[in-house]
């Protein structure tokens, strides 16, 4: 029954001794700690590490999925032409850095294509 109390007393004694040893740290150690602290705080002033590839993976993934959906949904019905399923190489090309701008403007290009089709139909 006395064990937990004794354990507490033991821990209290250990803590007191430990705190005493912390208070007795010499000036050299405190100086090193001070320098370490400032070195660590310097990290805050530097810009956080960024990985462009990681940053763009989610956005690119969503854009690609949308592109696939757009192609599949719009494919043969509107255009009236033989529909070719996109192949893997298409997506590789689209995922290249140069294509990212195009992906960002996807809605615009989609609208442009529709507008051109409407003009062609009207003319025809």
């Amino acid at each position: 029954m006395n064990e937990p109390r004794n354990d507490e007393q033991f821990a209290e004694r250990a803590k007191t001794l430990f705190d005493n040893s912390v208070d007795k740290l010499d000036a050299a150690a405190l100086s090193r700690l001070n320098k370490s602290r400032h070195a660590a705080l310097e990290q805050l002033k530097q810009s956080p590490p960024r990985s462009p590839s990681i940053v763009w993976i989610p956005a690119t993934g969503i854009a690609t999925a949308a592109l696939v959906a757009l192609i599949v949904l719009r494919g043969p019905a509107d255009v009236g032409m033989p529909f070719e399923a996109p192949v893997a190489s298409d997506f590789e090309i689209l995922l290249e850095a140069d294509s990212l701008e195009m992906l960002e403007e996807l809605e615009f290009y989609s609208w442009l294509e529709l507008a051109e089709l409407e003009v062609d139909n009207n003319v025809g």
Binding site: V22, L33, L41, P58
Partner: protein, 202 residues
């Protein structure tokens, strides 16, 4: 769609801190380090039995915390900091094992390096300290040696709970284990230490 993708991409990026926020964070972090650093040093020193190595480990932990976790809420810093520090201590012990194996291979005994001379590490009383202070220093030395002989996980649990004052949940976060494991390690550590140091130590 485009807007959604952009928003997702932006949320993925760690938001850059403005000047005012950075300054505030810097002050908070400075206070945190100042509060925790000396205890952290002693805990690391007891773990690796070398002050210079311990100082390096503490600095490494500070830099990693500032670099990776400064954006976390301040109340999460303590367990995160000790988790980084404990990982550093474990890596240090692994490197030491490899180093010792290599030294043995080249027939250069490291027994002298491994031997921990309590007297040599004791604070020099030089006849100036009162008896009570000497007894306290000796008691701490005995405690340090006993803690150093504990299995690593018991040592971590005991020091984080007793010396740093982390609760069970915080200790579990720092050690990367369950709260049940923390309780078990801590209980065994106290039992072993009490048995080893004897009642008269208290």
């Amino acid at each position: 769609m485009n807007a959604a993708a952009s928003a997702f991409a932006v949320s993925w990026i760690r938001e850059p801190m403005t000047g005012a926020v950075t300054l505030q964070r810097e002050r908070q972090l400075n206070r945190f380090f100042a509060e925790v650093e000396r205890r952290a040093l002693r805990i690391a020193e007891i773990s690796v039995r070398d002050r210079d190595e311990a100082l390096d480990l503490v600095q490494e932990a500070m830099i990693k915390l500032a670099h990776k976790y400064a954006g976390k809420p301040a109340d999460e810093w303590t367990p995160l900091f000790y988790r980084i520090l404990q990982n550093g201590v474990r890596d240090w012990h692994r490197r030491q094992k490899v180093r010792n194996r290599v030294m043995v291979w080249f027939d250069k005994s490291t027994k002298d390096d491994e031997y921990y001379d309590v007297t040599a590490h004791a604070q020099d009383p030089a006849g100036r300290s009162p008896d009570e202070e000497l007894q306290t220093a000796e008691a701490m030395q005995r405690l340090e040696v006993a803690i150093g002989e504990l299995p690593a996980r018991q040592r971590e649990a005991f020091m984080l709970r007793t010396f740093e004052g982390l609760d069970v949940a915080g200790t579990a976060t720092a050690m990367g284990c369950s709260q049940g494991s923390v309780k078990t390690h801590y209980s065994r550590a106290v039992h072993t230490l009490r048995e080893q140091l004897g009642d008269h130590w208290q």
